[in-house]
Symmetry: C2
Subunit: 250 residues, 2 copies
Amino acid sequence: MLIGAGNVAANLGIALSKSGIKFFQVYSRTVESAVRLAEKLRCDPVTQLSKISKNADLYIIALADDIVAEAAGKLNLENKMVVHTSGTVSMDVLMKTSSNFGVLYPLQTFSKHREIDFSDVPLCIEASSADNLQKLKNFAKSISNNVKEMGSEQRKVLHLAAVFACNFPNFMYAVADEILKDNKLGFELLRPLILETAMKVQQMKPTEAQTGPAFRRDSKTIGKHIEMLKKYPEWQRIYEIMSKGIQEMD
Amino acid sequence: MLIGAGNVAANLGIALSKSGIKFFQVYSRTVESAVRLAEKLRCDPVTQLSKISKNADLYIIALADDIVAEAAGKLNLENKMVVHTSGTVSMDVLMKTSSNFGVLYPLQTFSKHREIDFSDVPLCIEASSADNLQKLKNFAKSISNNVKEMGSEQRKVLHLAAVFACNFPNFMYAVADEILKDNKLGFELLRPLILETAMKVQQMKPTEAQTGPAFRRDSKTIGKHIEMLKKYPEWQRIYEIMSKGIQEMD
């Protein structure tokens, strides 16, 4: 049973479905989302939490972080196994939902129009008992070779690190795109560079991979860049603080 | 003739050599660097600018940005074609070096221990005459399918954008690594996420690919993250300024 039909729910549902897992229902507040994902998973859509079947083996709550606790509070699944998929929400919010509960947090960035291969996605799991942990581990292994046991506190740290590793680099790409656009240059010029930057740290540590004017302490280039950014005071501040950080880490 | 033996010189030299280009000499101030790269390119090492042969067809100055102008000033190559490979240095610093000059700027991040496939690396070219531009274009096409004509001003903008697209994301990876290390978690957990973040923008625009608490305006999670970073005031500032930037761009 899948509760949620957003990017995480859709990607996880499709991966599980491909590995042979059968879904009874998909829940979403919005009819269109429920129907769309239910079609892909060949199961029934539901749009009310009260209509959720009690017959599933596992309930996966894959909702936005800030509504997981609220939805969990409205569900009573007795002794059925229930997990949420959030990086930031404690396992304990599920304590009143069922006597068997846990977390299955996929550490990945999910978007529409891109299907994720789960085989190397870290699935961070936690459960309310050793038995439940073992069951959840077996389940997670059906789609990923990278299953990690981890407590709620470590999971929250990992989620924070993921913001630095994913959301902030993507914002830096967006700033680069804006700078190019303002000068009639296309973003496609940067694509091989962006990919290689990510490829490098697949083998080496980021500190070993660092390059650029700040790393070389090339103050002449840094000065020119800051001057070039005078139209964009916010990005100028980012440039300064990042360059300082690179020099301090070196 | 290759003047320089650093990461750019080595990667460019190897790619050119593989495409069938013959080198006479490699220059580096340090004997070891000159010898090491000269062996790979099957040519002679030189460690003095005055010993550089006058018999090559093309001279490539691939030195650190801040010493290109100085080295160019010490060379007199008459009418031989000379180019530098810097993103930040104007073409005109070569005006006194020869009557035929230009720029060949490979937009990529180069490190030791990683050989770059140049076939899709943007090679940004500029030259002192239409004839020289055509020659340089033919030469650049021997290693890359992505040759772009670009003036010095646009090249400098591109270099600035590249700092945002490469150096700053890599620093963000380094901060993520530190956060994990402090909590006894390994960097390898983030590798699939980092790669997927870069893969996404190979197809879509960064603004379409943005995810995370700031993008969702999840102020509860943002607040928790800022609290978790209280041990690291610099990274806390980075978190705040990046989150603000993401919300303003949205």
